[in-house]
Symmetry: C2
Subunit: 413 residues, 2 copies
Amino acid sequence: MLIVQKFGGTSVGDIERIRNVARRVAGYKDKGHDLVVVVSAMAGETDRLLSLAQALTPDPDPRELDVLVSTGEQVSVALLAMALKAMGYPAKSYLGHQVQIHTDSLFGRARIVGIDTQRLQADLARGEVVIVAGFQGVTEAGDITTLGRGGSDTTAVALAAALKADLCEIFTDVEGVFTADPHIVSNARKIPRVSYEEMLELASLGAKVLEIRSVGFAMRYGVPLHVRSSFSEEPGTMVVEEDEEMEKVLVSGVTYNRNEARITLYRVPDRPGIAAKLFGALSESGIVVDMILQNVKRDGAYTDLTFTVPRTDYSRAMEIVRQVAEEIGAEGVSGETEIAKVSIVGVGMRTQPGVASKMFETLARYGINIMMISTSEIKISCVIEEKFTELAVRALHDAFGLGEDSHPREEGL
Amino acid sequence: MLIVQKFGGTSVGDIERIRNVARRVAGYKDKGHDLVVVVSAMAGETDRLLSLAQALTPDPDPRELDVLVSTGEQVSVALLAMALKAMGYPAKSYLGHQVQIHTDSLFGRARIVGIDTQRLQADLARGEVVIVAGFQGVTEAGDITTLGRGGSDTTAVALAAALKADLCEIFTDVEGVFTADPHIVSNARKIPRVSYEEMLELASLGAKVLEIRSVGFAMRYGVPLHVRSSFSEEPGTMVVEEDEEMEKVLVSGVTYNRNEARITLYRVPDRPGIAAKLFGALSESGIVVDMILQNVKRDGAYTDLTFTVPRTDYSRAMEIVRQVAEEIGAEGVSGETEIAKVSIVGVGMRTQPGVASKMFETLARYGINIMMISTSEIKISCVIEEKFTELAVRALHDAFGLGEDSHPREEGL
């Protein structure tokens, strides 16, 4: 099998852990697999580099910042290749510009536009373990780019797609994808198999196991993902194409996100173009709006407009909104940061009714007020007061039977 | 003027010093100069990286070691470019493979075989300060190489040669080239001008101011060098073509080297091929022999053979020599590590006689026994007992009037 493996920063956090990764990779090699290994910077290294830049200037040049932080992964690939060679395994490190991993030139959040595989394939044919620096690429002009936080997952999946690998294993510091955050829900279970779509929703709703872009890539190219712990031999979670077994499960997981803030404009004149004006102004400032709710009043001429933004953008967003509110003649603006978004995700929702009402009933039973609701085919999100987050997650996890051992998803495997 | 400047590891040792370098570079830019700035890794960084590799394996793969240590310069160029841009000066960093600085593939001690200047020249034409990572290059296959310790000097001089720069300034943590080590000789003077050849001898004999390869490069391509302190505005030492003024000076400097050891073979049969056998065996083991002395005995059939090797190679060399001694039927082998080589250097020696005898007389006057002598056109070296090093250096510095204010070299400027 050709396997692409990715080890995160914690997995290569010190010399002893790098040696462990080398041993693990060697074990796969002994079984006859062809291996491409993607590594992140050693835990803490990227932050150390960023703080050097910050000490110099609050607003470092993006091109140079990528030259700086890409050294983190460069150190990791060199050390891992050394470790493998010292153990007698042929290995060779590659940087983004050596592969080459072509990207656009959006420094700090570049997108992969293509990958050359000739050199890697030649090395693989010779039996070498190919070790690739995650998180980095190169522009057409030869400039170094980085893919943004979590970009090493994307590197791994993109390489797996380009090389038509049989499997992409993401080794991380958690055991896999769980039905809920195990720090909050003591009987949360590891999900053995989950569909790409569910994983996309879980990732975008707050589960930190996989970078969302990498899931999208995997889905588009049909790369089977295996998310698992680098500190244990236990299987983790397979992220694969949806199948019938999955549809039998109403809800796969409960997730939450405390990083949003809510803004409301009161009595906005209900005219065409008002929403475009407001959200256009926010988007121009690079603020991404998540949920939007518009309540048309009985009298028809006015409406209340509520939406959420990332909490880190809250003050900037409020400034912009106040200005726009004045221009369009809204009555007032209010904002709130102490909110949380609680979501349930599952492909089973598509075919089985009653999931939404069960969610609302459950929250109501615990006296939790729902401030906003947003749904998609396979997820339902509710904005609630932040202080109820843990309570809501536990209640929903129980209500949908996710903690029970008799849960059908687990039986199916 | 097009100036190539090189700042060593101490000069960019922390964020504040990087800011100082940026200010200094900006000052040159304000005066209308075109600038290419070569930087080393922040002081201590290369050693930190090497110790990571050492913690992993005592014998790290050379290719991967270069991938690892080259990150040191990468961090420096990114930070310096950020600092300049934050001050409003257009600047752009380049790594070895971006320039490109082509080298052979001797990892860890690669030689520059060519430099592409198109991209740099285009940037310079646009008014950008071009910042280049020292010490690194790229092979034809795209592998990262390093030039060995002190390689950033070579990068700077090679860039100056390739770009036909008007001047190459080497900023370092000393004020320039001195008539002797100021730690030993309190009235040592900074030499305002020295010839390439003298500098080559001084560098190879122990003066640590400039990397010897870079001096050779500068001589071959006629690049004027200015060695000066990065912590002061004072002019340092110009290293240039020899001129008449220089010939008036008998001796430019006194230097010493305590890193050698002496080995003697007694009563070696005086047959052709014996020396070839011995020095061939040493050279095959990568041991570089410096001075060689052969005393043919009166009886003609035997000879004593004495030579020096780097002290770090002493035990290995002794092993080899003992073996060869047995094979060729030498009577015995003795070795000594507590020796020092004291040298005087000056282009004036070529035309003015009596320098050697003055050196020997001086050492004799202080009761210092000379164990070996080696001369070239512009230098004389004596091997003495190590404990006399400081005494010998001071005595010679005095004897040749190097500490006097009336020294002709200084008057000539």
